[in-house]
């Protein structure tokens, strides 16, 4: 076995320690679960002794004297066990569910704090599964498996203790077998963990193939790739089946082997103990207790090993969640800023200043990744409130950078961004964001009605404002077509609407926010030319006096802007008005006349 696999399969306390603070407030539930579980382990190990009592006190002498008292004692044990069990279940259940709830909240809260760069580089699916399923698994681990592992040790220890007490000589066989079973268990568990990892890897490949085969079905049909892909899929499932069978082989050796050790131990006990009974060294009751122990004890070894290896396999899951909870946002407000303006959950709006909308870049340099290419170098620009700035350039040229800095989704590497003459870092992110209206290329709505989605921009807006905003961008026509009008449920992420309809609603949402800074991030590329025209007119009227940033590649959108910035390979190569830039005959001119030239050629 390689060193690496050894390392992976070893237990480490560190991630568990990191998760503890999130569970700490439920520590009494944990202590309760462990305490009741350990006491129950003692009782479970005591049960075979009650059996030997029956043999020795009633059956061997052949009398039922005192049997009534015995039955009462048995009933008492049942009663105690039931009470303990009920407490144990209650503790575990509450610990699992409340611990899970708190872990989920801790993840979610931090996801709200983490900066956009985190979300840009981490897929939503990944964050979702950390928040939803990993947390559940950890809570279940702590609530059920950790106490059960302690139960297992308690049971094994108590059983050995009882056996040694009953007959040291007879216990020797079991005690000698124990290390052998332990070694076998450790060996096989390691193998099983490895094989199981292979099985899971193959299974995730199957899921990936399904994803691809189904999401890509339209493309594969147009290219007639059906049979090729089906053939590849059969190979994938064959590998998965192979991995599953390999795992089963190993398990099929291990599990019966442990059971067999138990029966061999019982056989040996029967022979040796039988002789001892004949010699009068031990009673028949003691022998019967021993056979019971020997048949069940090694099974507990196996269960214990399964629990421990499960615990170890979940370590990665714990690391993922602690990784998320402990991840630090790259954009943070200073303590004195939070003191005055509040954080994103507890704003102190009474201290908030009005925003005018002046934006200034002061000697700003910026790169996305440490050591990466400088996207901005000593860039300075004053944008008075009410200016419309258009940002043009090729797809992927880095047009969003300026907007990302104005919205403080990223911090400049050097220099300052000023809003109304003050550094953005001097006021809270929430203050800034509360004054921004943002329309994305791909509209994002939330579950709920059309009305609720518009109100998302400003929850305290009056109904008239909702209707006015809706009307301005043509949402009224969308609503009129729907059965419940503005109260129509839009489905998860607005899935019941078309992309174009969603985009109109996201415009209304931005308009109702009465922002001081308005960002259109290729917002009209998913609507047709006529709708685009309508939206342009509407926003021009409604956003008069608002500082606007318009990212677009359709030149018609851009012509009216007060200032045009041309971006190429992440850098601003030209700036000026439409006329100035055309006169300059540079990059903008080239971009603008591409179509024209093409036409002339004809």
């Amino acid at each position: 076995m390689s060193e690496k696999a050894n390392e992976k399969a070893s237990f480490s306390l560190k991630p568990w320690k990191q998760i503890w603070p999130a569970i700490r407030q439920h520590r009494w539930l944990f202590i309760g679960a462990v305490a009741t579980d350990v006491i129950m382990a003692g009782i479970d190990a005591y049960i075979p002794l009650m059996q030997s009592e029956v043999v020795d006190s009633f059956l061997t002498p052949g009398s039922t004297a005192g049997f009534g008292a015995y039955v009462l004692k048995y009933l008492l044990v049942i009663a105690i066990e039931m009470v303990l069990l009920r407490i144990y279940f209650a503790c575990c259940m509450h610990l699992e569910i409340k611990g899970g709830r708190d872990l989920k909240e801790a993840c979610f809260v931090n996801l709200q704090r983490l900066s956009i760069d985190y979300h840009n580089t981490t897929s939503a699916g990944h964050s979702l599964s950390r928040t939803m399923s990993d947390t559940d698994r950890i809570a279940a681990m702590i609530a059920w498996f950790v106490p059960d592992i302690l139960w297992g040790f308690g049971y094994i220890f108590s059983a050995f203790f009882q056996m040694a007490r009953l007959s040291g000589r007879l216990a020797v066989t079991m005690i000698l077998l124990a290390p052998i079973v332990t070694v076998l268990t450790v060996y096989f568990q390691k193998k099983l963990i490895e094989l199981n990892r292979a099985v899971r890897a193959e299974h995730s490949k199957i899921t990936a193939s399904y994803n691809e085969g189904i999401m890509g079905a339209k493309t594969s049909k147009t290219m007639a790739l059906e049979e090729k892909l089906s053939g590849e899929f059969r190979e994938t499932t064959a590998r998965a089946a192979q991995a599953g069978i390999r795992h089963a082989h190993m398990r099929a050796l291990y599990v019966p082997m442990v059971v067999c050790c138990g029966s061999l131990a019982a056989s040996a006990t029967l022979f040796q103990g039988g002789g001892m009974v004949l010699d009068g060294e031990i009673t028949l009751g003691v022998l019967s207790a021993f056979t019971t122990y020997s048949l069940s004890l090694f099974q507990s070894f196996r269960m214990q090993a399964a629990r421990i290896s499960h615990l170890i396999s979940q370590q990665a899951c714990v690391e993922r969640v602690t990784g998320l909870i402990d991840e630090k946002p790259t954009v943070t407000d200073r303590p004195d800023v939070i003191e005055k303006y509040g954080d994103c959950f507890e704003p102190k709006k009474e201290n908030w200043e009005e925003m005018r909308g002046d934006v200034e870049f002061e000697d700003v340099s910026f790169h996305y990744v440490e050591g990466g290419e400088e996207v901005l170098e000593h860039f300075s620009l004053k944008i008075p409130a009410g200016t419309t700035v258009a940002i043009v350039g090729e797809t992927g040229a880095g047009k969003s950078t300026l907007v990302n800095l104005v919205c403080r989704f990223f911090e400049p590497t050097d220099g300052r961004v000023l809003i109304d003459g003050r550094d953005v870092q001097d006021r809270s992110q929430l203050w800034l964001h509360s004054h921004i209206g943002y329309v994305l290329q791909e509209p994002q709505l939330f579950s709920g009605t059309i009305r609720e989605n518009i109100l998302y921009g400003r929850p305290d807006a009056a109904q008239e404002d909702v209707l006015a905003a809706a009307k301005a961008v043509g949402v009224d026509r969308v609503a009129a077509k729907l059965p419940d009008g503005y109260d129509t449920d839009v489905g998860e992420s607005g899935d019941k609407l078309s992309t174009g309809e969603k985009q109109l609603i996201s415009f209304a949402r931005a308009i109702i926010a009465k922002p001081k800074i308005f960002v259109l991030d290729e917002a009209t590329s998913s609507v047709d030319t006529q709708t685009e025209h309508m939206l342009q007119k509407a926003t021009q009227t409604l956003m008069r006096g608002t500082t606007s940033f318009v990212i677009a590649h359709r030149l018609s959108t851009i012509r009216q802007a007060d200032l045009i910035l041309v971006i190429d390979h992440g850098k601003i190569v030209e700036q000026g008005t439409h006329e100035e830039l055309l006169k300059k005959q540079g990059a903008y001119y080239a971009l603008y006349t591409t179509q024209l030239k093409a036409q002339e050629k004809k």
């Binding site: 039931m82 199957i206 290219m223 039988g274 028949l284 179509q595």
Partner: protein, 603 residues
């Protein structure tokens, strides 16, 4: 009623069809499981026999060949027997534990392969209608449920049945009265388990729904993170999350309380069952009705019965749920695959393409209405239209991804309906607006439909699609893995990869359905100028809502609400000053002089 029965038969057929490849493994595994149960019972009998004959000295029931042995000899014989049984059981269990998983792997492989292949063969329209997320869900979690039904629940049910049968026979043979007491509890335990599982089923569904609701709050928050931030709505998002999280938590706590009660009661019942056996057994044993060994065997058997019987209630209630999953799979499997014509015709794909009065309705909405045009081989057709004008449908009909409702589409004079659609599609390269790239390297993606393409050809196709410079920026170049498990390409890069993929096939007909929409104007221009040349003598159809994409085409048709409203080349359409010219003007692609002054289209 009758319909329900046939449905039941379909469900069973689905299972048996896929059980067939696994029949040998399952038969072997089940036989081994049976043998293992018998050996288990036998082991307890050996202990019983040892205690009664050797240790207590009651040798009445002893077979002749053993009666000659001394007491110690009997003990040794019993021990040898016990060891033998243990080893036999080891062997039998090994066979069982290897065969049953093998069987279930074979079963699930057969089911998965059938599903996947079938889905691939389902018509295009089916894929448009059915949301991918739902289909994936069916193929993963419903298949898993069916697998669990066969590999876990059915087998558990079978083995428990065996166990109960074998133990019933043995216990009743030993003593009827104690058996009656022991088995008297079985219906009680079963009933308690079944009632409970019935009861929690609804709560389970509720709790599951609450989890789904919570999950979608998180999902929306994550996908809409920029909106949340830009509007500063973290606080309200957290409140929304808390509300759903509390509800989820409350429902589970309630469910947890029910479960705890059940488990505690179940434990109490089993312990009382054993106590009853002890009370009756002790009394009978003291009276001499049963031997000590028999008594101990009873206690041991009763204990062994406890867990399987308690599990039975769970198994039965879980089994009742699989019907829903099988139904969900049958929905896919019963959808009909495309029908390939019996004796497909072939045609000259370089020939003339003709749409003759073609109409097509999608979900009762007319998308194309009497469209006719003729495109000579090797020429370029441009189709302009807004969203919903039916322009994409032209491409889909030509590749027979749909069939026209009325009218005829011919290539080289042969009706496309008489051709084998797979052959047709291989030769008609359609590039979709939102192409899908497979999770493999760029090179493999480009070459996916062109077996045996050389590296140079691939590089040339990439160059023609203006993709080479983008590839050059990736660290691993053509070996860069894209898609889910690799680099995410931008919309434009994806489209260009798809274009290269189609160019490489050298299909005699190529259709670009808004395939340049995410590409910036400069690259768009560059690709357009290369495209005609790269396509060689292929016939080209360019579909777009951007005038600049189309203006070099030999002929342009303008579609509105499924009808052709204008046709001609760029110059003549501009002259006409109709819809085409208006769109051109709005898009600023033409009609403006370089100096910024307005020059309207009709000048």
């Amino acid at each position: 009623m009758k319909k329900k029965q046939s449905n039941f038969r379909e469900k069973v057929q689905l299972l048996t069809r896929h059980l067939y490849p696994a029949r040998k493994a399952f038969a072997l595994g089940i036989s081994a499981a049976l043998a293992s149960t018998v050996l288990n019972a036998l082991f307890t009998q050996i202990i019983r026999f040892t205690i009664d004959t050797a240790l207590i000295g009651d040798q009445t029931g002893l077979p002749g060949f053993l009666s000659a042995l001394s007491v110690r000899g009997l003990l040794a014989a019993a021990c040898v027997a016990a060891v033998t049984v243990s080893l036999l059981r080891f062997a039998v269990s090994y066979v069982q534990d290897v065969s049953l998983p093998r069987g279930s792997e074979q079963f699930v492989k057969s089911l998965r392969d059938t599903l996947y292949t079938h889905i691939q063969r389902l018509p295009y329209s089916w894929h448009v209608k059915n949301p991918t997320g739902d289909i994936i869900q069916r193929c993963t979690s419903d298949v898993e449920k069916v697998r669990a039904f066969i590999a876990e629940q059915m087998l558990e049910l079978l083995t428990t049945m065996f166990l109960m049968t074998v133990y019933t026979v043995i216990m009743f043979t030993m003593d009827v009265k104690i058996s009656l007491v022991a088995f008297g509890f079985v219906p009680l335990i079963l009933l308690q388990s079944a009632v409970y599982h019935k009861r929690i089923e609804k709560s389970f569904t509720e709790a599951d729904e609450a989890e789904g609701a919570l999950s979608s709050v998180v999902q929306e928050n994550l996908t809409g993170v920029r909106v949340v931030r830009a509007f500063g709505r973290e606080r309200s998002e957290l409140n929304k999350f808390r509300e759903k999280n509390e509800r989820y938590c409350d429902l589970w706590l309630r469910l947890g309380a029910t479960m705890s009660t059940f488990w505690t009661m179940g434990d109490a019942l089993s312990m009382l069952q054993i106590l009853s056996v002890i009370v009756l057994g002790v009394n009978m044993c003291v009276r001499g009705d049963v031997s000590l060994g028999t008594y101990l065997a009873f206690v041991s058997y009763t204990r062994s019965l406890t867990w399987p019987v308690r599990g039975l209630g769970r198994v039965i209630s879980e089994m009742s749920k699989v019907g829903v999953s099988i139904d969900r799979l049958l929905y896919i499997l019963k959808s009909e695959e495309e029908i390939v014509p019996d004796s497909p015709k072939t045609c000259d794909l370089h020939g003339e393409i003709r749409f003759d009065n073609v109409s097509f309705a999608y979900e009762e909405k007319k998308v194309l209405d009497g469209v006719s045009f003729t495109l000579p081989g090797g020429k370029t057709l441009g189709i302009l239209g807004e969203t919903g004008s039916g322009k994409s449908t032209v491409a889909l009909l030509l590749a027979r991804l749909y069939d026209a409702d009325e009218g005829r589409i011919t290539i080289g004079g042969v009706d496309v309906r008489d051709m084998d659609q797979h052959e047709l599609r291989k030769r008609v390269g359609v590039v979709l607006q939102e192409p899908f790239l497979f999770s493999r390297t760029i090179e493999e993606n480009i070459a996916i439909a062109s077996a045996g393409a050389g590296k140079e050809d691939i590089a040339q196709a990439a160059k023609d699609a203006c993709l080479d410079s983008a590839i050059g920026e990736f660290k691993e170049g053509y070996e860069t893995v894209v898609g889910e498990r690799g680099v995410t390409l931008s919309g434009g890069q994806k489209q260009r990869t798809a274009i290269a993929r189609t160019l490489l096939t050298k299909a005699p007909i190529m259709v670009f359905d808004d395939a340049l929409s995410a590409v910036d104007a400069k690259t768009d221009e560059a690709i357009r100028t290369r495209l005609r040349e790269a396509a060689g003598d292929s016939t080209l159809i360019l579909i777009a809502h951007r005038v600049s994409t189309l203006m070099q085409a030999d002929e342009i048709i303008v579609l509105e609400h499924g009808k052709i409203i204008e046709r001609g080349d760029h110059a003549s359409l501009m002259e006409k000053n109709g819809v085409y010219a208006r769109v051109a003007k709005m898009q600023g692609a033409a009609g403006e002089a370089i100096d910024g002054g307005e020059v309207s289209a009709d000048e």
